[in-house]
Amino acid sequence: MHALVRGAGVAGLTVAFELRRHGHAVEIVDRAGYVGAGASGLAGGMLAPFCEGESAPESVTRLGRAAAEWWEAALPGHVGRNGTLVVAPPRDTGELKRFATRTTCHEWLDEDGIAVLEPALAGRFRTALFFRDEAHLDPRAALGALKEWLADDGVRFRFDASSPGTDFDAVFDCTGSAAIGTVPGLRGLRGEMLYLETEEIALSRPVRLLHPRHPLYVVPRGGNRFMVGATMLEANVGGPISARSLMELLNAAYALHPAFGEARVIETGAGVRPAFDDNVPRVLRIGNAIHVNGFYRHGFLLAPAMAREAVSLLERVPA
């Protein structure tokens, strides 16, 4: 079978990967000109099904549990399996208790436990939650590697506006927020993030900082770089980061460790996450296309499960 995949973000590339696994010929088109041009390239890359269970429905935790294995199998060496650390400023430790009551598969750490895991944070927090089974990856590195693997495997990439033709047996639309207005019920949520660079602090795993108004995270990316994310605004607007969001993200990083105050801000970014009204992604057949969309903030976490579902749909109903 010859399949066309529209969109070279995390949804499109994972669908392409699953299609190749089933022996289908695949062509990928993305007018943006490179992989991860949409929300995927701005993602945190946390494979954190249990932390996300704090506010997401049970299905997100269930479908996301296998994500780390999928990515490790697809891209050996790209997945860091060091868990997630969740901390709260001293005056907000109530938030930590609340977080614990709504999540599973975590353990409480005391000051010494925190110091063993993250020496840089020694003495800064009295207590923390540790989600041992969670993982993370670098979205841009992972998407780049996935693209290379697919290209080596015979997948054709078309990064211009030229029409890919019509002689396909199946079309997968994985265009994310570009499909808002086309896919019924799909809405946009603005998200903002930034990258810091500093040699003064090292972290081994994503750290979430709970705060009643702005729960934020810092993910180590290697090379002394840290991604700080991410705001969630109910608005279908891209464009540069706002001063207020920049301030809040930097405040969070500074609250985690004052060394971030001396870090260099090497990048800021903002984008639009596509989401349905329940914030759970869907595989939908609309006309001749199978749409895989609505990943909200769970692209890397849920793309493997949704890609499998989309491709199984193809197997059941031959075009």
């Binding site: 997401a56 808002i180 809405r187 009643p212 608005a235 279908n236 607007v237 009204d277 329940d278 759970v280």
Partner: protein, 257 residues
């Protein structure tokens, strides 16, 4: 029936729309809360957003009356501008006026609040001011044109419940003719029942519902508590007393000894 600027309202629960796990859960909570009025904060990003595919479309689809608010505004000018944008977007003269004076406690800046209320009332707005339980400030707001008052009972999102019942009682006594709506600080259904028992007309909730483990069920629990508190107030509550009062008449009872 509750009369707010000439609009008759049956439900005495107003619901905020922020911080739910998803718009779907918000929509379900609106349904179980039986509310007729939701309050929506207008941010610049929202106002400037593309039409379609947005949160505001989902809010409009809820089919309830929208009370736009100026949450996050820290100055008179900011609040007035936000209210004017909200009037354009939501096509309503109603506005829940918030002017925040303190970043940490989200306490209203009552001086700026009174000034903004005057400007907006003169501009034809029907203002629902988020204020403290201070009587003098409340008087100034009424002078500025407000026909509804929305005092906090504790800081926004604190879930502490009514921390100063005597002040709320004094406010009720002092403003017998003005609809009073408790706007912030409630954590539990029993808190809502308690303020309704004081004779408050309604309650506005957001965090207590949105951040509950099950917002949909919590919205219904608050709705029931608010109705119970209101019914209790209407039915005439007993005043507490120090001594026991037998519920069975003692006079005429046979005496065995």
């Amino acid at each position: 029936m509750l009369d707010l600027y000439g609009v008759e309202i049956t439900s005495r629960l107003f619901l905020g729309t922020a911080r739910y796990p998803s718009p779907k859960i918000l929509a379900d909570a609106v349904r179980t809360s039986r509310t007729e009025i939701v309050t929506v904060s207008l941010r610049r990003e929202t106002a400037g957003g593309k039409a379609g595919g947005s949160f505001l479309d989902l809010i409009a689809a809820l089919g309830v009356r929208i009370l736009p608010n100026t949450a996050g505004c820290h100055s008179v000018r900011e609040a007035v501008t936000t209210a004017q944008m909200a009037r354009e977007i939501f096509q309503t003269n109603w506005v829940k006026l918030e002017v925040i004076g303190h970043h940490d406690t989200l306490q209203p800046d009552v001086f700026a609040l009174v000034e903004a209320a005057r400007i907006l009332s003169e501009d034809g707005f029907e203002v629902f001011p988020y204020t403290t339980d201070d009587l003098v400030v409340a008087e100034r707001l009424v002078e500025a044109g407000c026909k509804v008052l929305m005092p906090w009972c504790a800081p926004i999102g604190s879930a502490m419940g009514p921390v100063n019942l005597p002040a709320l009682r004094a406010m009720r006594a002092h403003f017998a003719e003005i609809p009073l709506i408790v706007d912030a600080g409630l954590g539990r259904p029993s808190h809502a029942a308690a303020v309704m028992e004081l004779g408050y007309e309604a309650v506005l909730l957001n965090t207590a519902v949105a951040n509950a483990s099950d917002p949909v069920t919590m919205a219904g629990a608050f709705a029931d508590a608010i109705e119970a508190g209101r019914a209790g107030f209407k039915a005439g509550l007993l005043e507490p007393r120090d001594m026991a009062v037998s519920s069975t008449p003692v006079i005429g009872k046979a005496v065995f000894s």
